[in-house]
Symmetry: C2
DNA sequence: CTTATATTTTAGTCTTGCCTAAACTGTAAA
DNA sequence: TTTACAGTTTAGGCAAGACTAAAATATAAG
């Protein structure tokens, strides 16, 4: 009678640093669903990979303890997964800030470059960069930058379409997937840090008319108004980005 | 009668951008051998990789037209390979300059971070960084930075050990694998841009004694003297780096 | 000229991350 | 309630880049 005894005390998945594409998936889940479950399809679309690849990675994320995954129901981040996602988001937004403010990148080119860089830089680099930039609380788009410890304050901003005529509001964030929209607003200095007076919010077609600091009026259609997030000027803004 | 016509006009090896590890190998060959042939073993040691992996990659470099390779004799770069290597060296040295001068990195940490970053940045990033840095001709170690077109002027510098007593010389470059050596010299401001007067070059044990700008004398042993490269102060230095 | 040693190459595998094609599941419409 | 279809998973593969072990070659020493 003979025995074969197999001992494998190492769990490589638990100890190895997450590879670069693991980070992509975790970040994608966070961006798509926050703390809800993200579907295979949505993640596949965002990362431009096949659904099969996503299913496969969801299984691995589960093993690594970064996500919970149930067949046909998508994946949602665990606390560890969320921390990892925010670590990458912090890198990304700090890098974007650097590219825009110090290297003169345009809003179009920034995202792609930052996407590649965020996988290559160390935490040391990230924190030194944060130092150099003066620890900004928001990136140039107005998106909040997660803290080094992986926390991010929840924010409740209204879009321009949700405001009421007569209010004076501060532009805090400008968010849109289209570079065109960003450029249009940028050219007119409707950027984070500027304030405007809401002249009219027309329920009929969603057009919002605002008056900028120089007294010029701008009529913004629904999609433009949806991209601009504001705060009442009475509340202080946490970290105003200097006007361009 | 029917035909099946197969057309494959693409040659993936010739058109695909070199992957990141291809660059590592090309750069390693350049750093080890310049335009001579680098041995499998030396490249393996430098990249911390097995000899078998190197042999394998040498074959691929040959196919890609980046190197010429003959079994048992090592690989040497072609013109294309040399261009590719210099492109990466340019990136590396510009990134190092940035890390040291703008992010406050120490000489120890710089290399590793730059090594990772140089694979992630685009040519666009590289050139914008060069702009920001004022198009330096040398990095903080004094190593010349290849031009954007992939050319690098040959330089013929003498090490301190090759000078003669009585000469006044300008320190142009400080090169050593050991961070200790770099730190020792750095602490004493024996860095690129400074000039010293050679007091004695002792053939017996290789000790070189120099007097710095403040009149302080330093006795440098053989290995220290070999790390310091100088130029006669009569010739102009191409791109002096400001003293620390 | 032969042998010992160092180096190099070959052969076969592994892991990560992606793919396509085919099978499966859940949901919403007829 | 059955059917159609969108979305998901399974199965099988591929390429890059690394590894180990074993075979081959070169070189240096006797």
């Amino acid at each position: 009678m003979s025995f074969i005894l197999l001992l494998d005390m190492s769990d490589p998945l638990a100890t190895l640093p997450p590879s670069s594409s693991v980070g992509d998936y975790v970040k994608a889940i966070w961006e798509i669903a926050g703390s809800e479950a993200a579907s295979t399809k949505d993640v596949a679309a965002r990362l431009s990979v096949s659904s099969a690849s996503v299913t496969n990675m969801f299984g691995r994320l589960q093993e690594m303890g970064l996500a919970e995954y149930e067949r046909y129901r998508g994946a949602s981040l665990t606390a560890a997964g969320r921390r990892e996602a925010l670590r990458l988001v912090r890198r990304h937004r700090l890098i974007e800030t650097f590219l825009l403010e110090h290297l003169g990148y345009s809003w179009q080119d920034v995202h792609e470059e930052a996407e590649r860089l965020e996988h290559a830089v160390s935490d040391e680099f990230t924190e030194r960069l944060a130092d150099m930039l003066g620890h900004p609380g928001r990136d140039p788009h107005g998106d909040p930058i997660p803290a080094a410890d992986g926390t991010l304050a929840v924010e409740s901003l209204k879009s321009l379409g949700e405001t009421e005529a007569g209010q004076r509001v501060l532009i805090v964030k400008v968010k849109d997937d289209s570079a065109q929209v960003l450029n249009y607003l940028g050219e007119r200095s409707l950027v984070p840090g500027r304030s405007v007076k809401v002249r009219e919010v027309r329920a009929l077609d969603g057009v919002v008319t605002v008056e900028d600091e120089g007294g010029v009026e701008h009529a913004l259609g629904e999609s433009l108004a949806r991209a601009v997030f504001v705060q009442s000027t009475l509340e202080g803004v946490q970290d105003p980005v200097a006007p361009a």
